[in-house]
């Protein structure tokens, strides 16, 4: 049947996207290593021959970095088409189970990353660190969470599903990037692994990246939670019932509110705020995985196999 063909193509494109992302991550790693080589010489030798050493090394890391970015863009293209085909194959909006959420969240994270990179090209060495969690999530999505293309149960057949789940996924993907940036910021400020961390953008740039993306992700997340409440009112008879999923969504929301407060509180602006931001993303991931898979609630129709 045609639909099963579409589903098959979708799965293949998913795998292709993962492969391309992995390759991009490796190239970013090589870029990182190459850059280190140049700077080691710079630190170690000093004197006039520094320029001689540096000249060939820089373009090399530059070349790998550019290739990595091109591959990332290619991966995003494949990834997007995979999601579109999935929707066509299942004849519904392609956000009906955990495999599909994971796919959408990681796509949103990659798009966010590319947009940020266009704005601040000096951010490129961060690429490896953004790709890593994305690849891990995609791997889990394609294996543990994988579910075949199928229609969804009646409670999920609502345009509020489309609005709620789409915005939640985009917001979660957006918030992945600040989570990574804040972690790197903390690494940079802690003074640990100085050789390794020295290749990262400055702490200030990382901090600004985290803040800028969070202030887009947070209102979107707020909207998504409100849309979820509107949907719950139509589907379950109440707009808020402290279901485990709702509760942890509330916790994550409060943590991000705390992050924004910390940014405006003396003594909390730098490291503590960054920790809170990392915590916020940890709670989001906890909500996606632990609550769906371990704690049963009204939301637990995530379409897990078995």
């Amino acid at each position: 049947m045609v639909l099963t063909d579409l589903a098959l193509y979708s799965d293949r494109l998913y795998m292709a996207a993962v492969a391309v992302y992995v390759l991009a991550m490796v190239l970013h790693g090589v870029e990182y290593a190459a850059e280190r080589a140049s700077k080691q010489v710079l630190v170690g030798a000093g004197g006039p021959d520094v320029e001689v050493e540096e000249a060939p090394a820089r373009p090399r890391s530059e070349r790998y970095g550019r290739m990595a970015v091109s591959l990332t863009v290619l991966g995003v293209g494949l990834h997007l088409v995979s999601i579109v085909l999935r929707g066509l194959a299942a004849e519904r909006w392609p956000l009906g189970n955990m495999y599909e959420f994971t796919s959408a969240i990681t796509l949103a994270a990659m798009v966010t990353w590319i947009v940020m990179l266009r704005r601040t090209p000096s951010m490129r060495p961060v690429g490896m660190f953004v790709l890593f969690p994305v690849v891990v999530l995609l791997f889990l999505g394609g294996t543990v969470l994988y579910a075949p293309a199928q229609p969804v149960m009646p409670a999920l057949q609502s345009y509020w599903l489309v609005i709620h789940v789409t915005t939640i996924s985009i917001a979660s993907g957006l918030l992945l990037v600040p989570g990574v940036a804040s972690l790197l910021f903390l690494l940079r400020r802690s003074g640990k692994l100085p050789e390794f961390a020295a290749k990262l953008p400055s702490a200030d740039v990382l901090d600004r990246l985290a803040y800028r993306v969070t202030i887009i992700g947070f209102p979107l997340y707020t909207f998504a939670v409100i849309a979820g409440a509107i949907w719950a009112e139509a589907a379950w008879g109440r707009f808020w019932g402290w279901d485990p999923k709702e509760t942890v969504a509330f916790v994550a929301w409060v943590v991000y509110a705390a992050y924004l407060h910390a940014r405006a509180t003396a003594g909390w602006r730098a490291e503590r705020a960054a920790w809170i931001n990392v915590l916020g993303f940890a709670v989001m991931i906890f909500n996606l995985f632990f609550i769906n898979m371990v704690v049963a609630g009204l939301h637990s129709y995530a379409g897990l196999p078995g």
Binding site: Q150, I215, G237, D243, P244, V254, H261, A264
Partner: protein
């Protein structure tokens, strides 16, 4: 001003004044620290931490059964947790204490800010600092025009800014909506909480099972419901009256048994219809995600199941037919379990009644696996079959105790007052004959639906405040409050041409994430050569 230390009148030997003053100082300091940003931050954390057990431990409000099994699993821990309110987190005093403190802190923080903001709206932008070079954004350039022309240029560029000027200086400020948005956001939080609280006080939620094929339900009192959760100020005497009749119910399933759609065709009569004595029913397609919304109440389709129908023909020829909903024990295959009870007609003597009661009890499979021991293999009605025991004796119906409609009184079986007289599997139309000649027929099956009636007078307010909150949040996070200054110094060069040295400075007031790009654009625009 109240915050100033009061000075005692000279020479007054009042001994109470220092103590009153001390109390005042303590109070004032407590208020100040309660309304500080740091306290707000800590309270936010506490709120997040306090909510977590609500997700990780079973909650009474969601599932009493899970709480009970937690008690049997952790008998040493559960009673302590229970005493501390961990199975009712969102109704516990400590959770309430945290959010109430947070709300007080919020009011104490936001109202003075709102006042400041209003005052600030009437104030003029701050005068030009003496040393513009010390601002985070700063530049200086020379324009080939006199000071008047330069001033005109700056004025046109600063359209939309709030500004004041002297002959040679400009002060401008923009982004007041940021603060307004912040205030709207925080105040909406309070409104939202009040709406939520109103719903908890004046709302109710009730569930009732109604059989398809004409079953009716009227919202006239709590007793009509199978279960009812009333708000603190609801006593059940003032329900919004309306009636519902369930005409039919259809469910569609995929080949693998996954449900695809549930639809109930219902009719309803509103309060106005009932008052006017209207007897017709207004049709409505009730479905999951499509509740019936009446004035103030909503009706939801929440669940469904099967109600087998049995007819008993007694040896004297009298017939009785009964149909009771059976309880769905496996939602994926819709295997159901239940009981149908009959009292023998015409028997009034109590001792006789205790010998002649009949109960048909067992399981129902909508699509039977067949065989001697049946189970259900598919949720839809493809091959219905029941596997039942027929019991005769004392059903306990006269004992005056309430009975489950799904079960017979086990103690009657244990005591031998209720004996099994047959065990059979029946498909629709089949019957079995008991030892005394009584014939039990399985006629067929009807579907039932579980309706939920919800009433929440606060929810429209909650929605309105949620929208306000979102608008406030958006403007507060996207708008930047920034200041801009310019100082003009006219010079006349050796060539006699009038020029103006323009020194500009900028400062973003509220956050650190840049006003750089906008400032640079403004600068480029002002310094442009042509024009």
């Amino acid at each position: 001003m109240a915050t100033q230390t009061p000075t005692r009148p000279h020479g007054s030997p009042d001994s109470r004044a220092p103590r009153a003053r001390l109390a005042w100082v303590v109070l004032r300091n407590a208020w100040r620290s309660l309304t500080s940003m740091r306290t707000a931050l800590i309270l936010l954390f506490l709120l997040a931490v306090a909510a977590l057990p609500g997700a990780l431990l079973p909650q009474r409000s969601l599932n009493q059964t899970l709480v009970d099994s937690y008690f049997t699993q952790y008998p040493w821990l559960a009673p302590t947790l229970d005493r501390l309110g961990f199975f009712d987190v969102f109704a516990s005093p400590w959770f309430a204490a945290i959010y109430l403190l947070l709300m007080i802190s919020l009011v104490g923080c936001v109202l003075p800010r709102a006042w400041e903001h209003l005052k600030g709206l009437r104030q003029r932008p701050v005068a030009v600092p003496t040393n513009l070079a010390r601002l985070p954004h700063h530049d200086e350039f020379t324009l080939d025009m006199d000071a008047d022309e330069a001033a005109t240029r700056i004025r046109t560029r600063l359209k939309g800014w709030r500004r004041t000027e002297t002959a040679t200086t400009f002060s401008a400020e923009k982004g007041y909506l940021r603060e307004a948005g912040n205030l709207v956001f925080h105040l909406s939080l309070i409104g939202l909480l009040l709406g939520f609280a109103a719903g908890k006080l004046y709302g109710y939620e009730g569930q009732v099972i109604v059989q398809a094929g004409g079953g009716q339900f009227c919202n006239t009192g709590i007793l009509g419901y199978d279960s009812f959760r009333a708000g603190l100020r609801v006593d059940g005497t003032n329900l919004d009256p309306f009636c519902v009749k369930v005409d039919s119910f259809t469910a569609d399933y995929l080949a693998n048994g996954q449900a695809q759609s549930f639809d109930a065709a219902i009719g309803y009569q509103t309060r106005a219809d009932l008052d006017a004595g209207v007897t017709t029913w207004r049709p409505f397609p009730l479905a999951v995600n499509n509740p019936l919304r009446l004035d103030g109440s909503r009706v939801y389709l929440q669940g469904n199941g099967y109600a087998p129908r049995f007819t008993v023909t007694f040896p004297d020829g009298q017939k009785r037919t009964g149909q009771t909903q059976w309880n769905t024990v496996d939602p994926t295959t819709m295997l159901a379990q239940g009981t149908q009870k009959f009292a023998r007609p015409g028997v009034t003597d109590e001792a006789q009644r205790k010998l002649t009661g009949l109960a048909i009890t067992g399981i129902f499979a909508p699509t039977s696996s067949g065989g001697k021991v049946i189970t259900s293999v598919f949720p839809d009605l493809r091959d219905p079959e029941v596997a039942v025991d027929v019991l005769r004796g004392d059903l306990g119906l006269d004992d005056g105790r309430g009975q489950s409609i799904f079960q017979v009184d086990q103690s009657k079986i244990d005591s031998g007052a209720l004996k099994r007289v047959a065990r059979v599997n029946l498909v629709p139309g089949q019957s079995t004959t008991l030892d005394d000649g009584t014939v039990v027929t399985f006629d067929g099956v009807q579907r039932w639906v579980n309706l939920q009636v919800s009433h929440d007078p606060g929810q429209d307010y909650v929605l309105a405040f949620a929208i306000l909150l979102l608008l406030g949040l958006f403007s507060s996070l996207t708008i930047r409050r920034r200041r801009f200054w310019a100082r003009l110094t006219p010079i006349t060069g050796d060539d006699g041409v009038k020029r103006t040295v323009v020194e500009i400075g900028g400062l973003a007031r509220t956050d650190r994430a840049g006003y750089g790009e906008e400032f640079d654009r403004l600068r480029a625009d002002l310094a442009k050569k042509d024009d």
